[in-house]
């Protein structure tokens, strides 16, 4: 339904019309609805949304790490041209920790507490046909690159010997050790303090440039996304509402939700004020099928068409798409 040149060889990841349901005792929850976007090679794409927007579900779907009650009902995820969803389980598994790797929100739970950092880092290279000594040397070099001081002595340490920031650095080292084509980062800085968050973002940015991989960066933190990403995908209640380059999204947001979200960020409001902007209302329940725009209940500009019709994608400029009826109305007026 979008982009005629959809088999562009320059994309590492192409997600097309992805729909995902969770089976729950209270019915089917449509956690992802018609999600489509591209991740160009060598770029960082940020997935931004609030809790319940499906951004983490999307990351887990790409990695194939969904719980049992999840079911992809339609769509495809093309990774380097191959559909991950049609792949057999062993083939898909062999991609993980090789062409695809992931860092998690909580670096402590992502590491096995009874094994040393060194053994984690050697194990992750199980795809490589090199000696153990060589693997160890690579691990040391990578730990050095992510800024762990004195890696030779730290490689024998256990995860709990490291602070939160250091642990996340270890996780990044592990994820990038295998030189993946795509790194999926699920809220990697949320559990960290502000000064460490900045360090980790800079580290990711620098390593991404050196290694040349692509990053799918899932976050609710607009500041971090603005700093790190080349492109941004805005999600709301399981749908992609807007997508574009980071400049377009932050300077020229087209969807009312994107605008509201940007306005809400207290980091943008420099003058001291006692009344901060917010988005009144709550994320709608995703049970059952609904007609119309998913954001309409909280949208200040909603009109009758938003209730009756699902909005389709509208292209703004060269590289920005948004799903909103207002854009269509505007075009009709100008035509």
């Amino acid at each position: 339904m979008r982009r005629d040149d959809s088999v562009s060889p320059r994309s590492v990841l192409e997600i097309r019309g992805l729909n995902l349901d969770f089976g729950t005792p209270r019915g089917r929850v449509h956690a992802l609805r018609n999600v489509s976007f591209d991740l160009p090679a060598g770029q960082v794409v940020g997935i931004v949304g609030e809790s319940g927007s499906g951004k983490s579900t999307l990351a887990y779907t790409v990695m194939g790490l969904l719980p049992d009650n999840a079911e992809v009902t339609a769509g495809s995820i093309l990774f380097e041209g191959k559909d991950l969803l049609k792949m057999r389980a062993p083939a898909r598994r062999s991609l993980l920790g090789d062409r695809l790797s992931m860092i998690f929100q909580d670096p402590m739970t992502a590491l096995n507490p009874v094994r040393t950092i060194g053994s984690h880092m050697i194990d992750i290279q199980h795809h490589e046909q090199v000696s153990r000594g060589e693997k160890r040397a690579r691990a040391l070099e990578m730990l050095h690159r992510v800024g762990i001081p004195d890696p030779e002595s730290r490689v024998g340490a256990y995860p709990h010997h490291f602070s939160g920031g250091m642990r996340q650095r270890v996780c990044i080292a592990m994820a990038l050790l295998v030189k993946p084509a795509l790194l999926v980062a699920d809220e990697p800085t949320t559990a960290l303090d502000a000064t460490l968050e900045v360090q980790i973002i800079h580290l990711l940015k620098q390593l991404q440039k050196e290694i040349g991989c692509s990053i799918l960066f899932v976050s609710h933190h607009l500041g971090a996304v603005a700093e790190l990403c080349d492109r941004v995908v805005i999600m709301y209640a399981g749908e992609v509402v807007e997508e574009g380059s980071v400049r377009d999204i932050f300077h020229n947001p087209a969807h009312p939700y994107t605008r509201a979200l940007l306005e809400c960020d207290p980091g943008r409001i420099k003058k001291s004020t006692r009344t901060l902007p917010s988005i009144p209302g709550e994320v709608p329940s995703l049970l059952g099928t609904k007609l119309g725009c998913i954001f309409r209940s909280r949208c200040p500009q909603a009109f009758d068409r938003c209730v009756q019709e699902n909005p389709v994608e509208h292209r703004i400029g060269l590289d920005q798409v948004a799903r909103c009826h207002l854009l269509d109305e505007k075009r009709l007026v100008s035509a």
Binding site: E50, S51, S163, G164, G165, M166, D193, A194, T195, L196, E197, V198, Q199, I201, H202, H220, H221, L222, G223, A224, V225, A226, E227, C229, V246, R247, F250, H251, A260, L261, L262, C264, D265, P266, G267, R268, I269, K270, S272, T273, R274, T275, L276, P277, S278, I279, P280, E282
Partner: protein, 363 residues
């Protein structure tokens, strides 16, 4: 006018190992100092923010004021009365006049009580039996903008924002003089954060209570607090009016914290002042100025001499612990929005430490 709350030279320590283990390993001092000699005041109706990263001791101060944690030394005076050395029963009447909102909005609600019981807990604890429980619950729900039928819900049926509102309502139940808000926006989405902060600000304007905000989020501080204190390793490194500190931070750690607030603007990638490394362990406090291991302006003296608080002559309320306090150009960090092509100012540092170590007279 007497301050509502006065904390003086507060010290709080935690045991790191049992006495037997300490004896066995030969550790003479099996404690860490979570809070080291902190003093501050909150006036009636005022908002003070304690800012710091995890492990800075800010929550420990809050827990000590409310009596969940004992101090080793120092005094806490509430409305002229010393409350630190009171027993639990003696402290109870004072707990009626202060209330704390905890970090985890859902976790701080007893899971098997209905919202109505939760909201009216304070009345029952303080033996106010003759009040109309249902009516009070309705009044409190209305105050925080929730419909009356929420009274019958259980905590697990609330969203984060709703649970936070219940927390605010309960804190306000007995019309306290002081509210301690520990990370009032933790766990909330950006779209809801504004609502909760506005609610807190509006209720403060209406009811006139003082608020002590504990947070690591400087964005919250800017819009809520009259004064702020920045903590590092259990000490205040800078105290002053919020406006003043945002405008002209004097301590390099404050500067780093302000800069660590990534701008939600892809073109605003200015010269980010990144602090090196991580906060040292409380078990191994650095010598001299405790921030010198991460400070980019650190000089010889910083590693040797412990800095005493000093202040500027024009604003004695603004004090900071630094040998080389920052001086800056009139252009402030935040008023100056860079255009996308302004590359020159990205490179030039707009901060520089003052030339001589003692340009500012110590207090």
């Amino acid at each position: 006018m007497n301050p509502l709350l006065r904390v003086k030279d507060l010290h709080v320590r935690f045991r790191t190992m049992g006495p037997l283990k300490a004896l066995a390993t030969g550790t003479k001092d099996p404690f860490i100092d979570a809070v080291c000699g902190v003093s501050f005041e909150i006036r009636k109706g005022e908002t003070l923010a304690l800012v710091g990263e995890s492990g800075s001791g800010k929550s420990t101060i809050a827990r000590t004021i409310i009596g969940l944690q004992r101090a080793v030394s120092g005094s806490i005076t509430f409305d002229g009365q010393e409350i630190e050395d009171l027993s639990r029963t003696e402290r109870k009447p004072y707990l009626r006049r202060m209330a704390m909102m905890f970090q985890d909005p859902l976790g701080s609600l007893s899971p098997r009580l209905t919202v109505q019981s939760l909201l009216t807990e304070p009345f029952r604890i303080h033996g106010l039996k003759d009040c109309d429980v249902g009516g009070e619950a309705k009044r409190l729900l209305r105050m925080v903008g929730l419909p009356a039928d929420f009274a019958r819900r259980y905590p697990h049926q609330l969203s984060g924002g709703q649970a936070r509102r219940i927390g605010i309502a309960r804190a306000l139940a007995l019309n306290p003089d002081l509210i301690i808000a520990d990370e009032p926006t933790a766990g909330l989405d950006v779209s809801v954060q504004g609502e909760v902060l506005n609610l807190l600000a509006r209720l403060q304007d209406e009811l006139g209570m003082a608020v002590l905000i504990i947070t690591h989020n400087l964005n919250v501080v800017r819009h809520m607090a009259d004064r702020m204190a920045i903590m590092y390793l259990g000490r205040f490194v800078e105290v002053g009016s919020t406006e003043r500190i945002f405008d002209q931070p004097r301590h390099p750690y404050t500067e780093a914290l302000l800069a660590a607030n990534p701008e939600p603007d892809p073109d605003a990638v200015l010269n980010r002042i990144e602090v090196r490394g991580e906060m040292p362990s409380l078990l191994r406090r650095p010598s001299g100025c405790e921030f010198h291991t991460r400070c980019r302006y650190a000089q010889d003296i910083c590693g040797r001499v412990f800095p005493e608080p000093s202040s500027t002559p024009d604003d004695t309320e603004h004090s900071f612990r630094c040998h080389l306090p920052l001086e800056r150009d009139p252009a402030t960090l935040f008023e100056r929005r860079l255009s996308p092509v302004d590359f020159t100012s990205r490179i030039t540092s707009r901060h520089r430490p003052s030339a001589s170590p003692r340009s500012v007279a110590p207090k």
